[in-house]
Amino acid sequence: MTEEQPVVFVIDDDGMVRDAVKDLLRSVGLSVESFGSAQDFLQSKRSDAPGCIVLDVRLPGASGLEFQRTLVESGIPLPVIFISGHGDISMSVRAIKSGAIEFLTKPLREQELLDAVQAGIERDRARRRQAKLIAELQERFNSLTSREREVFVLVGTGRPNKLIAHQLELSEMTVKVHRSQALRKMRAKSLVEVVRMADHLGVSTGKSEAI
């Protein structure tokens, strides 16, 4: 997989902090975009690249934690690193539970920030890879006939052909044909791969009817 250039979004109402953090991140070769408020960020046109958000927990308007929720709801799955003027244990716990990468207190320790940003980018990369994979699998899955999908899903559950034939009221032979077609189209080389694909697609059990 080719790695895209990651982007770090810095959101802090304090321009000086914003600039200093942006400076530091750029000094390690990261691409940085900074915003004075959550609103500015949400309205910006962002490049489709892996990245993460460095967010001051004390923001004017909505608090950092509320903003984190808004991100999830708006389908912006970027990891968040909180920075705060003072350490508040309960606030940091809540932030981490909501999926924050890290909760850092000011003044920021360089390495902690860089590690966290790196971790955030890595997590976003992984998420993006996963998303891409699932999208490909979904594409392949969509190319299957409905019978092939049925058979593929049931194979994914580990059932033998005989059982599948019985369940679908087909001959074992017919099942074999559909099975080979489906695996070929899905580019699955082994039963293990089929099971994983079914899992990624969310069609592993009992969901066949829904598809």
Binding site: A20, R26, I83, G85, P107
Partner: protein, 776 residues
Amino acid sequence: MKRANTDAEDCSHAAPELHGNERQWREVFEHNPATCFMVDASGIVLSVNAFGASQLGYAASELVGQSVLKLVFEDDKEFVLRKMSLCLETPERSNSWEVRKRRKDGTMLWIRENARAMWWSRNQLIMLIACEDISERHWGAMESAQLAALVSSSDDAIISKTLDGTITSWNAGATNILGYQADEMIGQPITRIIPPELHQEEKQILVRLQRGERIQHYETIRLAKDGRPVDISLTVSPLFNQSGKVAGASKVARDITERKLAQQALRETTARLRTVTETAVDGVILIDARGVVLMFNPACEKLFGYSADTVIGENVKMLMPQPYRHEHDRYITNYRDTRDPKIIGSGREVIGLRKDGSTFPMDLSVGEARQDGESIFVGIIRDITKRNLAEQALRETAARLRTVTETAVDGVILIDARGVVLMFNPACEKLFGYSADTVIGENVKMLMPQPYRHEHDRYITNYRDTRDPKIIGSGREVIGLRKDGSTFPMDLSVGEARQDGESIFVGIIRDLTSRKRTEAELEQARAELVRVARVTALGELTAAIAHEVNQPLTGLVSSGNACLRWLAGDAPNLKAARGSVERMISAGSRAGEVIRRIRALVAKAPPLRDQLNINDAITEVIALIRGEIQRNRISLRTKLSTDVPLVLGDRIQLQQVILNLILNAVEAMSDVSPQPRELSVSSAKDGPNGALVSVRDSGTGLDGAALDRIFEAFYTTKAHGMGIGLAVSRTIIQAHGGRLWAAPNVPQGAIFQFTLPADGEELSSLERMQSASAVA
């Protein structure tokens, strides 16, 4: 009379000359129906005729030889002597006079005497006296004179009139009563004094008079001269003429205005008395000396349930139950015999018996009066059932009050105006440990320790003299002295009451020991709260400051890191590095600005400038955190010098500094167990005008490095400290123109001290210096 005189003359002439005819003359003389005396010049009777002697009740022989004056009424003797002398001086002339004589039996008669002296012989004068009894005439004249005098001097009006009503006489009484003079009225018609509406009445009177009737005590009205009506009682009698016919009338009128008024007054009094009696709320009974009821008023009827008719005429005993009934006769008899007024007087409480047999308490007052020479008794009766109920209620109230007092949780003491204890309730006994017997009668001072004991007399005296209610009122906190010598705090409320015209004082006492304990606990809680609030406030302040400082700090550090990175490697990005350094400088400047702002913030609130006693400020702070000190088992010593001058300053700010220093000391000692935890707070004079306050602890102390930095903001040696208290404290002290510093204590711990100038001018100059240094 004339005739008698003539006879006497005849006698006197005939006697010497007709000597020869003496016998004949004697006969005439003897049987002359007029009395004839012949007396000598000295008045001795020479001869008297038989008629004369018998007229006076004597025999002639009894008179001859006696002085003729013997027969004269004593008062007239001198008069007769004079007359006889005159007669003797002028012989042959007749003289006559009237004189009173006495008969032998003592009765008096009026005699007209005609006397003539003549020569019996050459040298002898004799006197012939002829006497005529004029008594009858004399008395008659006298009678009419007396009558006239009576009429004229009578207070009653006596008027006579003719039958046609013309007034013919008018006496002084009539003038007196009716105002008219006699000459005004005689000849006037009687109708002038009769009111027009009564003219008819006068005619009727005349008719009755013509029939010969007499009108007696007829009450009517006549008009006085001034037109005023006069009440009179009239008696009219007919006057007859010589022929026996009614010719007129005499009226006797008596002014009865006063009698009328008196009668009217009496009637009114009686009516009023009746009304009073009838309407009296109190019962009124009249009994005679035997106890028989003469009167029984309506109030009595109500009281006893008997009607007056039933009771009047009965013995009053019927209204009394035993044993009063039995005693009553004895009372009455005893009073009649001995005049011992056992039953007379007011306000005996006795029992009355009603018709229905029930009894009631009554107040009986008995008075005695005389009626027709007999004693009668008046009884005034008041039903005192209600009063008795009231008295009972009073007794019950008193009993209840006693119960309340006896069972009261609070002590109740009653003292008189001299401070002598009159009452001491059980709660007091418990409070003070004395029994009531011990304390009652003693001076209340015994329950007070000095200096209250000493002051108490003054209080009482002062209150008595000036009525200045220093001791009256509620809620003074004083100290009580128990029997065992221990003392306790108590709340004393004192009230004044009047008893028999004297002031008495009621003291209500509440033991404050437990309240004091509660107060102490409350104090601790409050101190804790203050500390928590202080920490919280400091926490918030610190958080705000931390954020403010953290921002530029974050910028500084991050930019510094970035700068290093730009400079690292084979091809350092100098341009970027320069940018980073510029940001660092900017961030550093901003951090400095933040610090300046904080200092300005503290300095901005201009300290109040009050003269204050720093010792008071310290005492208050200590009171506030005494709980904290005790909880940490720290022994506190305070040495507050009395010669510390007053300082100018903001009490609250200075107290914050003191509080901060003491709390720091307390915290510093919280870890030093088992070493002694000793806290010492002292004040002293500093230089000529300043004050020095020291807070010493035996805590963990400060090492040299710490001593240099503790006043820096955010520097702390404490596990949970914010590092702000001392910095703020120093700012406050400096704003007051003073100094705050720290030094190690010996053998261990720390000393924090600050000075404050006292003089205002010095302060302001220091203030200028301070603000100058703050800007720099």
